[in-house]
Assembly symmetry: C2
Homo-oligomer: 474 residues x 2
């Protein structure tokens, strides 16, 4: 099983390479994002700057990637799944797509929370392309014939690397890629995936340390939740409700998504003028999220990462707002959520309502983009809302006896993120992903329960998010 | 995939049932163990009491279980593995073995750290028996023919339940059972395992709450490690060494194990007088571990659970001993390790030396017993020793600049436990098991690295611990 042969070097190279690219992309995006200035301008100029920047980027992303290859749109996970099932889509893993997808994805992600799209899906596709290319290079060097079986193994490992290098989470990266990708797999593949993903995740976190972003290779979205008393037993009930509610959202969204895709206007635009369609949609999004306008009710100033960090915040927002004038320092992330007239509950609800249809519309955009991260954040927002409401109803915790054990809304946010993303992708490993990405293990059981409940409901009804396009394209 | 049918009820019942049995066994063992009084007696009487008690229990365990069924000895994982590969060992899953194995295992575990044996292996076997029996009951009720395919699915789920209900760790329970048991598996099975294991783990922790042992359903071996700064980047080097060293031990032990098994004297005794052999070995063990004698150098007063808890202790023992007179309260667990003349390093080394051959001898005993837990503790002790030495060498941490970041030996203990048990069983999921069982996620990356290194070395050389008996029995 563990022969020290070229396979392992190969997996090592793949992991390190993808981690480096992932990290470089993150840095470039952060730099480019800093260029998105709109404050300090006159209001109308600010609006222009706020909308033009993502419009230009999204249009470029669409135009550039589509001109090189029509395969670069979307996340690419559905197509990879079909490849793994044995269908030959040779062109899909061609290396010429690599550059198009990297550039396109970087532009998409630079739009940030305006577009509200993620990185995981395309990055898995990128990783698979790199693996396929490295495999070809190897066969040229060793002068062996291409081995279909080995190719398949490498693709499986590449997916694990893709997930692991985005979240810095090796174990759940492997599990998630298995769950999403294949109905069967060999423990042998699992080993390869594990090795490559660990190399990738280690490198990814190592780069963060070298870049002095972090002091040590800790979790990516490090949360400092107290682990003394994570949750009361009775709270399990609310976690179950959360799982149930999350799946409800999912069923609704699937229905709406079909409606949007079947819409004649969008279909026409998509068939002919892809950049125009993109620009129109992005203009709409940017107008809605413009911070002095509607954006103030949905914390639209935050980036994707800041959304997650603020939603997983240890403290209870409801309590923070009560003595906001006294304790809180200005400029903390959670304050973006606290609107003077709408309160945090209002902004959370508005955020959920608006992002619901915006997210569905965003999935129709023909640019390279992932849908896992937005779904994850959306789930975290659902969980945070539930958690804050529970904390409001039971300020001293659920037990009236003994010392007060306040409810920790961040735990609900974790469970919500896992349950919603799990029910959309039909995976349970999102519960582990949450733990690995935040470095917090205390809520693992209620999270798993919420994920199981959410999955039990959605799996009964629908194909997974990644299966649906396969069925549609048939 | 997720039809609400009898399968799910069945898995639910299996999980809850096994969790209840596991918990009841734990309580009975704790009660029985309390009966093992040896203090307060005259020294010679104390010795008699210390040795007679486990001798009687082990003899009864051997005699009782062997008289009912010859299959009840050992862990049973190797045999289960052969069953899953398609070999029919019908009798092995017969329900009549269930009682024998429960009683035998309870007696074995009551001997506690004197015998130094565990629960996981037999409990997986028990779980498989329960699943097989429940499956038969179902076919009688529904009047369907037995479905081999369904039986297989249930067995896979049962193994996950077995691991999960012992450690209260659902995710790693599923992974570990997959890795150890089967070369291939379906994601479909993984779902079933996940569901059943979560029910089991939840029930298991729930019972602990109802029994007022714990305040909430937190981790089983809850460790209160600081997560502010888990480890320095440079410490990764020591973790790698730890993985390397762990695998070295493993290779040595395998060699010795073969020597013991091939020994003519033991083989003769095992063939004819099993209880006599057991009694002799236990007498030897009890004499060595007698606390006023040699036992004082190996902390033999601790139970298995206390061993783990003390080894995963947050504080650095080396620092504690320095100001033992001042700060430390008497009766803390770590003080068992602190011998006035041998120091903690001496006791740890002596513990490792003695338990090494004792553990190998213990695996030859023909009573129901698991070998995972002792291996796990042994690995934790290796890690603790390495961690304490590193902490001694670098009292201010590895960076001389900035504020001191002391080394946390408990992190090494976690990594050591995962690496050693992983290399013995050829599994990577032990790294996750450590995190789930202790509720501590901060050290996940170095732990995974140590496990991978340890596995890379041992897998090259040998069949896994559970494969070896299969090969021998051929």
């Amino acid at each position: 099983l563990f022969r020290v042969g070229e396979d392992w070097y190969f997996l090592f190279i793949l992991g390190v390479l993808m981690a480096t690219i992932s990290f470089t992309m993150d840095i470039i995006i952060a730099r480019l994002h800093a260029g998105k200035t709109w404050r300090g301008f006159h209001r109308r100029l600010g609006y222009l700057s706020w909308t033009m920047y993502p419009m230009a980027l999204a249009a470029f992303s669409t135009g550039f990637s589509q001109s090189i290859t029509p395969h670069s749109g979307g996340s690419g996970i559905s197509e990879l799944k079909t490849i793994l099932m044995g269908v030959v889509l040779e062109d899909y893993l061609a290396i010429k797509n690599f550059g198009a997808k990297v550039v396109g994805l970087t532009c998409t992600l630079t739009c940030g929370s305006t577009l509200f799209l993620g990185k995981v899906g395309p990055y898995v596709h990128l990783s698979a392309m790199a693996a396929a290319y490295l495999g070809k290079m190897r066969t040229t060097v060793t002068r062996e014939y291409e081995n279909k079986f080995k190719q398949h193994e490498m693709l499986v490992a590449a997916q694990a690397v893709g997930v692991a290098t985005v979240f810095g989470a090796p174990i759940s990266g492997v599990l998630f890629s298995i769950e999403v990708m294949s109905p069967y797999f060999a423990v042998r593949d699992y080993w390869r995936g594990f090795f490559a993903a660990t190399c990738g995740a280690f490198m990814f976190r190592l780069l963060a340390v070298f870049n002095s972003e972090q002091e040590t290779i800790a979790a990516v979205f490090k949360s400092n939740l107290k682990i003394d008393f994570p949750f009361d037993l009775l709270e399990t009930f609310f976690f179950l409700i959360l799982g149930y509610g999350g799946s409800g959202f999912e069923v609704l969204s699937r229905w709406l998504m079909v409606a949007v895709r079947k819409n004649q206007l969008t279909a026409k635009l998509l068939a002919t003028d892809k950049p125009v369609y993109t620009v129109l949609v992005v203009l709409l999004f940017a107008s809605i999220t413009f911070p002095p306008g509607l954006g103030q009710f949905m914390a639209s100033r935050l980036t994707m990462k800041e959304y997650l960090t603020s939603l997983f915040e240890n403290r209870t927002w409801g309590l923070l707002t009560l003595n906001a004038s006294g304790v809180a320092k200005p400029g903390e992330l959670w304050q973006e959520w606290d609107h003077p007239s709408a309160t945090i509950y209002g902004t959370l609800i508005f955020f959920l309502l608006m992002k619901f249809w915006m997210l569905i519309l965003a999935t129709t955009l023909p640019l390279p983009a992932g849908y896992f991260m937005p779904i994850f954040i959306y789930g975290a927002a659902i969980g945070r809302l539930v958690g804050e409401v529970v904390a409001l109803l039971f300020p001293r915790g659920l037990y009236s006896e003994g010392p007060p054990r306040p409810i920790i809304p961040a735990g609900y946010a974790l469970a919500g993120a896992a349950a919603f993303s799990g029910s959309v992708t039909h995976a349970v490993s999102t519960s582990l992903l949450v733990c690995e990405a935040t470095g917090h293990m205390g809520h693992v059981l209620p999270t798993v329960l919420a994920v199981l409940v959410a999955n039990a409901i959605t799996q009964k009804n629908q194909p997974s998010f990644y299966d649906a396009p396969i069925i549609v394209k048939k």
